[in-house]
Amino acid sequence: MNIIMKYFKKGEFALFAIFLLVFLVFSFSSEYFFTLRNIMNVSGQLSIILIASVGFAILLIAGEVDISIGSLLAFVSIPLIQTMNLTESVTLGIILCLFFGIIIGLINGYLSVYLGISSLIVTLGMLFILRGAVYLYTGQRAISDDYMSDFFYYIGNGKFMGTVPYAAMIALVVLVIFIYVMNNTSYGRKLYAVGGNKEVARLAGYNIKRLKLSAFVICSFLSSISAIILCSRIGSANHMAGDLFEFQVVAAVVLGGVSLVGGIGTLTGAAIGVMILAIISNGLGLLNVDTQWQLVVNGVIIIIAVGFDELKRKKVI
């Protein structure tokens, strides 16, 4: 019990308890919920959100935000699929996809940090610019994966030993790596400091601009990985991919205790937040509730989570 307490500091423990609660509720409400098939199904979709959420949470901790990741998802899918179609090389496709992701991260970061435009505005604008670019290029049609490599298919759909999806494993690896980085490297700690108290960080000699820029890049980079998995699962670069994705990520991460003011929250918490939202939407789907409700749920969760956070900060609660 002590070990559990040590790993789950106060906040995360509460979150995990909520997760178990929701899990139990749905297990009893729907007979399909607690089946292996369903769980594996969920973990496939969950990996996509989880990986992007890790990046988003890291950026949030550093005190900035990127709400264009949904449009980014669609945007980087294009070089991925097109390259594979044209060159029949999955590796090249993946490299270009990640490359474009990094470039967008650099642009977002440069505009926000070096030009001083609020990152919310920059990425709000980018949200539309990237989506528009996707529509322009694709003519509002999906680009299908004609190459159809088995390897590429397995990324998103394959299962290790027939049970554990590769996608989930990728997500887990990403999560573990970045949890370690954020908790145990000077780089990760500096990101926390920069988001937590910029002045103190500045006086400690941290290069704030460079640190924040790197966080933008990590966010886009990880979102690009999510894009790869998504394309693998749907077999195409879909112009509508990632629509409203950023808001699911925000809701999950904020629910997981990562604060919008920066410097507060953990990746573990964010991950639990993702899991909670994922099983809620899965459970609701199994109970035949409209998917449109998910948007509503996301919105309400954001308000409650942020409100709670704010009121706690102001010591009202």
Partner: protein
């Protein structure tokens, strides 16, 4: 003259004229009556909401849910009028709904202390989702009441009705912001909330009022849109909030306090809409219309920041 050019409105005016001249040369269809009417109509709905958004931005808040609300309004309006056959009931339904949404946005900001960027973003999600819960399919005009179509498609003295409606509302807001004490209140709340509070101003009350006004204006714009489309369409106003905010910022109103002018905002809207129109006339892919407000938003805020830094 130099002074006029240096001022924000001067620059906007020049840009606007240049665009018009360029497009007129490129495609004479630009200055056809139908085209001009079309530009004026779409500019009017933006302008109506921009009036409310100006109040909000001036007082240091923002409302990102206006697009989603507007789409929702088209659905409600069409549905209620279809079912009841009465425009009045439709109006009552729309404005009650808008009032509640505005009030909620206001309370989320003042009671829950959630900053309005996030709060109205969340409201946007909620509205986008719930509109489909209200009705999965688009709602077509089955009531065919001529008065309703007249709202969006009609003319008065050869001027499109939406413009008339806008011109009807406009003076009220010009007076409100420039000649009554409420304008001063909103400005001071945005510029220095502590000083405003310490002057006896009830900040929270006016913020909530700002949100309610904006949502009610969205109601008006939504009804016009429903009339123009002859349909209640979920998702019809997607991205609308971006255009409104970009226009208001272009017009000189700033997040950091200080309000721009109505003329500035009008010019900003015209520029955005003329660019939209030009994209179609020049045969450029329509999806550029998504890209443009995004770019302009970033540029507008960037230049606004520069301007603020220079003045400080």
């Amino acid at each position: 003259m130099i002074n006029l050019i240096k001022k924000n409105e001067g620059i906007l005016f020049l840009i606007c004229i240049s665009l018009c001249i360029f497009l007129a040369i490129y495609n004479p269809q630009f200055y056809s009556i139908q085209n001009i009417h079309s530009i004026l109509r779409s500019s009017s709905t933006v302008m109506i909401v921009a009036l409310g958004m100006t109040i909000l931005l001036t007082s240091g808040e923002v409302d990102l849910s206006v697009g989603a609300l507007m789409s929702f309004v088209t659905v409600i309006a069409m549905d209620v009028i279809n079912v009841t056959g009465s425009i009045s009931l439709g109006l009552i339904a729309v404005f009650s709904f808008c009032f509640v949404v505005g009030l909620t946005n206001g309370l989320i900001r003042t009671v829950l202390s959630v900053n309005s960027l996030i709060g109205t973003l969340a409201m946007m999600l909620i509205l986008q989702g719930s509109v489909y819960v209200y009705s999965m399919a688009a709602i077509y005009n089955t009531h065919l009441i001529p008065a309703f179509s007249f709202i969006g498609q009609g003319f008065f003295l050869n001027i499109p009705m939406p413009v008339i409606i806008m011109l009807f509302i406009l003076p009220f807001f010009i007076i409100l912001l420039n000649y009554t004490r409420y304008g001063r209140y909103f400005s001071s709340i945005g510029s220095n909330p502590d000083a405003a509070k310490l002057s006896g101003i009830n900040n929270n009350r006016y913020k909530v009022i700002g949100f309610i006004i904006t949502s009610l204006l969205v109601g008006v714009a939504g009804i016009i849109l429903a009339s123009l489309m002859d349909t209640g369409q979920q998702g019809s106003a997607k991205g609308f909030e971006l255009t409104v905010i970009a226009a208001v910022l272009l017009g000189g109103t700033s997040f950091l306090g200080g309000s721009g002018t109505i003329i500035g905002t009008i010019l900003g809207i015209l520029i955005l809409k003329i660019i939209d129109n030009g994209i179609i006339l020049m045969g450029i892919d329509q999806d550029f219309q998504l890209v443009v407000p995004g770019v302009i938003l970033i540029l507008a805020v960037y230049f606004d920041n520069l301007r603020k830094k220079k003045n400080v």
